[in-house]
């Protein structure tokens, strides 16, 4: 019996530390003990799989998937890119889910009390599967910045939340993408919880004039990288190159 190869260890320096005191909520929601690092077993190198039967035809189109009597108000954008692993191999047929505020920075959520109005034609969530080349795309409106109770004058940069599965539970990732040039990014305690400026740059979607649809929608490109895995198998041990 061959056993599948394991995934590269996660680089903790790439991610925000659990305790990031400028992001105040993290203070009581961060473990005080160190994480215990595991060699991977079948529980970690497997994960849920999804198919087109799980999704509806408009799930990736936030312009249309909650439209009641017209299109949502806002800057029409195409968000697209590839899901790759650290070996630069595409991750095909993986579920990408996304959620966001509307153009005014208001979420369609019973707990959001910000006084910018709800858009009756905008839900703010979508999902899709990558194709065989790891490619995905969504259509949506660009979200607005919004205030939040951290410091009294804290504002989140425009952002879209993303959830990606990969092929293994150890690749599971939730992140946020920001938009190129937003002056709120360097002022945001959540974005700046990432210590490495290059890593913050990796969360910034790029204006993509090539993929922009003339007279219709402007495009942003955002590639996602999940953990890679070894390729060589040795006997029945979880090892590789």
């Amino acid at each position: 019996m061959t056993t599948p190869a394991e995934y590269y260890q996660r680089d903790p320096g790439r991610h925000p530390p659990a305790l990031s005191p400028r992001y105040k909520t993290s203070v009581t929601r961060s473990p005080r003990f160190a994480l215990i690092s595991l060699e991977q077993r079948v529980s970690e190198i497997t994960g849920p799989t999804f198919g087109h039967g799980d999704l509806g035809a408009l799930d990736h189109d936030l312009i249309k998937n909650y439209a009641q009597d017209g299109d949502p108000i806002g800057e029409r954008i195409i968000l697209h890119g590839r899901v790759l692993d650290e070996n630069a191999r595409p991750v095909p047929n993986t579920l990408v889910e996304l959620w966001q505020a509307n153009a005014g920075g208001r979420y369609r959520h019973r707990k959001d009390t910000y006084f910018a109005p709800i858009d009756p034609n905008f839900g703010g969530c979508g999902r899709t599967l990558t194709d065989e080349n790891g490619y995905y795309f969504f259509r949506t409106v660009k979200p607005g910045a919004y205030p939040w109770r951290n410091d009294i004058n804290s504002w989140r940069p425009a952002h879209i939340h993303l959830s990606i599965f990969g092929s293994a539970f150890c690749q599971r990732l939730i992140t946020q993408l920001y938009f190129e040039g937003d002056p709120l990014i360097p002022r945001c305690p959540i974005a700046q919880s990432i210590p490495d400026p290059d890593a913050i740059e990796q969360l910034t979607a790029r204006l993509d004039m090539v993929a922009t649809v003339p007279l219709d929608s402007i495009a942003y490109r955002f590639d996602i990288v999940l953990r890679g895995r070894r390729s060589t198998l040795f006997e029945n041990r979880l090892e590789g190159n």
Binding site: S26, R41, Q202
Partner: protein, 205 residues
């Protein structure tokens, strides 16, 4: 890309307070998808004992956290995962994956599933029955991985290669759910303490 040609993993960010919009929109207050994913872990055809898991997620002040999203990943009663790289097959409709959210008022969460069987460990060892859990929420910058084991599997737990890796024996108990019965159904209680006294063990997997 680094100078050896590897890409770097995309950095994590918190799921924030409105994670429900994307991953559990009915809880956010609207209906948009034909089916929300992760509502049924085991499916109707799964073999094995039907069980319920319940608990709270508790912060460093001892307060329940009321905006957590938890995902579960488990094998079936035979110890097979619903994944092409797990040897064996699972019952039709068995996904082994689910997601639940904490109640906005009480913070309680729970899910119905079947009790998983033992699974293969490394180098011929056997893992005690367990469910992998992954938590995201506002204030949590990188999703937290932990494992739920069962208190009526004491002999399997005693030789489990992950439990026994934890050198602080007192911390091992934080991974053990406690069994009781309600209306004839086995219920396992599993409170997760993010910080402080009896802090749950979290893993870097």
């Amino acid at each position: 890309m680094d100078d050896l040609g590897y890409l770097k993993e995309t950095p994590s960010q918190t799921a924030g307070p409105y994670v429900h919009i994307g991953l559990a929109p009915r809880a956010a207050g609207f209906d948009i998808f034909d089916q929300e994913l992760g509502q049924d872990i085991a499916g109707p055809n799964a073999k094995g004992e039907r069980i319920r898991i319940e608990g709270l997620v508790i912060d460093g002040t001892g307060s329940p956290i009321k905006d957590v999203l938890i995902e579960a990943w488990q094998a079936n009663a035979d110890g097979v995962y619903a994944h092409p790289e797990s040897p064996g097959t699972v019952e039709d409709g068995f996904r082994g994956w689910g997601r639940v959210i904490t109640d906005f008022d009480s913070g309680e969460w729970g899910f119905d599933t079947v009790k998983p069987g033992p699974t293969p460990g490394r180098n011929g060892s056997v893992q005690a029955p367990h469910i992998s859990l992954w938590l995201v929420a506002r204030g949590i910058n990188l999703g937290l991985h932990t494992r739920l084991y069962f208190d009526d599997e004491a002999s399997a737990n005693a030789t489990d290669p992950v439990i026994t890796l934890i050198e602080w024996e007192r911390r091992r108990q934080t991974l053990i759910a406690t069994r009781s019965e309600r209306d004839g159904l086995p219920v396992y209680r599993f409170d997760i303490r993010i910080q402080g006294d009896d802090e749950t063990v979290f893993f870097d997997i």
